[in-house]
């Protein structure tokens, strides 16, 4: 048997639009004509290549991927900095989609609680977009979004519309007021865990969580207080998924490649795995959120 194409080959994605959302957080919209990414499911990711600089894994942040794919990118390293220097019409390489996303089929018919911390709102956006597109197939929808500073809020315009809907309960909080004024949307001061305690959460809810590593332990504790079954808690874990296809080893957690078996895991799959969700907050310098 002669092996086919190399799995490391990307397709060309052309930047269609760039929308700044917050400082160093831009929403990129790419056109990809081969349609190879169109099967993207909520919680999956793609590898974005800036030739000559490198690749980085980016969560898909839209529940509707076709010839256009949206990626919310934070300027954090060399590759994202290079991307921020590009303009509309420029091209990058894209390959994917990779990983297991959130089990949207299993969520159907149930209440769904979505918990986002910081940039974790990007993959969670694909979940709420999917759920709202298939609204009648889900029970109650609860969206919880926490961030460090008030001016970190992403998808502000979208939230303005979402907050008017009566078929989704939305709770947003920031830890600190930074910037000229509070954003013109309903926002409280506090943490994701405070919001989780306020929200009406039935014990048989399914939960989708994505946020900085330090957040998970606390979110899990509160969900347990609310008697949510561990098997229904799904977490998206952050690791450096360099190759995306279960080869390079950088994202290895316990016995699994995060890029293939994850990045979304049900809590029972990972709770006994060393270093999967436990996290030394003291060593978290510079802020990951």
């Amino acid at each position: 048997m002669i092996p086919g194409k190399t799995p490391y080959l990307s397709v060309k994605g052309t930047i269609r639009s760039i929308v700044p959302m917050a400082q160093d957080n831009y929403l990129f919209d790419f056109t990809e004509r081969t349609g190879s990414l169109s099967g993207c499911r909520p919680g999956q990711f793609v590898e974005l290549w800036v030739p000559g600089v490198g690749e980085c894994p980016i969560s898909v942040c839209s529940g509707r991927v076709s010839e256009s794919i949206q990626l919310m990118v934070r300027r954090a390293g060399r590759v994202t900095s290079a991307l921020f220097n590009m303009s509309e019409g420029d091209s990058v390489g894209l390959r994917g989609p990779y990983g297991q996303g959130f089990p949207m089929e299993a969520f159907k018919g149930r209440d769904l609680v979505m918990v986002a911390g910081g940039l974790g709102v990007a993959p969670i956006r694909s979940v709420w977009q999917y759920a709202l597109d298939h609204r009648e197939e889900f029970g109650r929808l609860v969206l919880i979004y926490g961030m460090r500073h008030t001016n970190d809020i992403l998808f502000r315009q979208e939230f303005k519309f979402l907050l008017r809907r009566r078929d989704i309960d939305i709770f947003i909080a920031a830890e600190e007021v930074v910037g000229p004024a509070l954003p013109p949307i309903a926002m409280q001061l506090g943490r994701v865990t405070d919001l989780l305690r306020q929200a009406e959460i039935s014990s048989d809810s399914c939960v989708a969580v994505c946020g900085p590593p330090v957040m998970y332990k606390y979110v899990i504790d509160v969900l347990k207080e609310r008697n949510v079954d561990e098997a229904n808690i799904h977490l998206s874990l952050e690791r450096h998924m360099k190759c995306g296809i279960g080869k390079c080893g950088h994202c290895f957690i316990g016995g699994k490649f995060n890029c293939k078996a994850g990045p979304v895991f049900a809590l029972p799959e990972i709770k006994h795995v060393p270093e999967a969700i436990e996290c030394d907050a003291a060593s978290l310098q510079g802020g990951l959120e």
């Binding site: 000559g52 600089v53 060399r78 900095s81 290079a82």
Partner: protein, 261 residues
């Protein structure tokens, strides 16, 4: 790179190559590889290699040598003010090299006295404690080496010409040594090889020739100095010799501090 001034008649990015206190080893490496760069850049200043040098701002300046004299510092500040990217090239510019390493053993004044005798006072007036560039100015890219590796230099330049920061990861020499499948001189010959704590880039040159790595590229990322000293002590090396080897190339602070714990 349109922001650069002084591009004159042609539109190529501009570079300058300057030396402070050093052995000019990096300048030679750059000179040897200049033909590969020339299609893509205009060399505005390179006093070591050309007689006609212009003033003004440039895109990239490669600086060799440590700051060891007052006029080094003045020159470095002028360089910083006139370049968009400042690249420290070579161990002297990145770590301070042997001129800084020597300061672990004695004070600069004592060295000057020993070398220059009665003329010491006039020399001392000009001298400073040798230090790497980033002790005095902001450095954008650090490319260590003694001398630098030519292909790393070209890769760094290629990245900067595209306005990207280069990918420089200081993995240990052991990696390059194992990739070349060398027998380990630390294990087989009990040589005091510093490969485990030294930054790769040389292609494990010394261990490939059966000699111990003496750390000339400076420390790798988070060198495990405690473990290194333990192992060399167990092999019968005196603490003074181990410390001398670890600090010889100027990386006094990260190595010295950890060692003292």
């Amino acid at each position: 790179m349109s922001a650069a001034a002084g591009s004159g008649t042609n539109h190529l990015p501009t570079i300058a190559v300057e030396g402070l206190t050093g052995c000019a080893g990096e300048l030679l490496v750059i000179l040897e590889n200049l033909d590969k760069l020339l299609p893509f850049v205009r060399v505005v200043r390179f006093p070591f290699a050309q007689s006609k040098n212009e003033g003004g701002a440039v895109d990239i300046t490669f600086v060799e040598g440590s700051v060891s004299q007052k006029h080094d510092l003045e020159k470095l500040k002028r360089i910083r003010a006139n370049t968009r990217w400042l690249v420290a090239v070579g161990n002297c510019a990145v770590w301070g090299c042997v001129q800084k390493g020597a300061l672990c053993k004695c004070k600069a004044a004592e060295m000057i006295e020993a070398v220059y005798g009665s003329a010491a006072s006039s020399i001392a007036a000009e001298a400073m404690d040798a230090a790497p560039l980033d002790s005095h100015v902001a450095v954008d890219v650090k490319l260590s080496g003694c001398p630098i590796n030519a292909s790393q230099f070209l890769a760094v330049t290629a990245s900067l010409l595209r306005d990207h920061l280069p990918y420089i990861v200081s993995k240990p020499v052991c990696l390059e040594c194992k990739l070349r499948e060398n027998p380990c001189v630390l294990i087989e010959d009990n040589l005091p090889c510093l490969g485990p704590v030294t930054a790769a880039g040389c292609g494990a040159l010394c261990p490939s020739m059966g000699a111990a790595c003496y750390g000339c590229f400076g420390p790798c990322e988070e060198p495990q100095i405690g473990a290194m000293t333990t192992i060399l002590k167990e092999k019968g090396y005196e603490m003074e010799e181990v410390l001398g080897r670890l600090t010889a190339f100027g990386a006094v602070i990260p190595m010295g501090e950890k060692w003292q714990k």
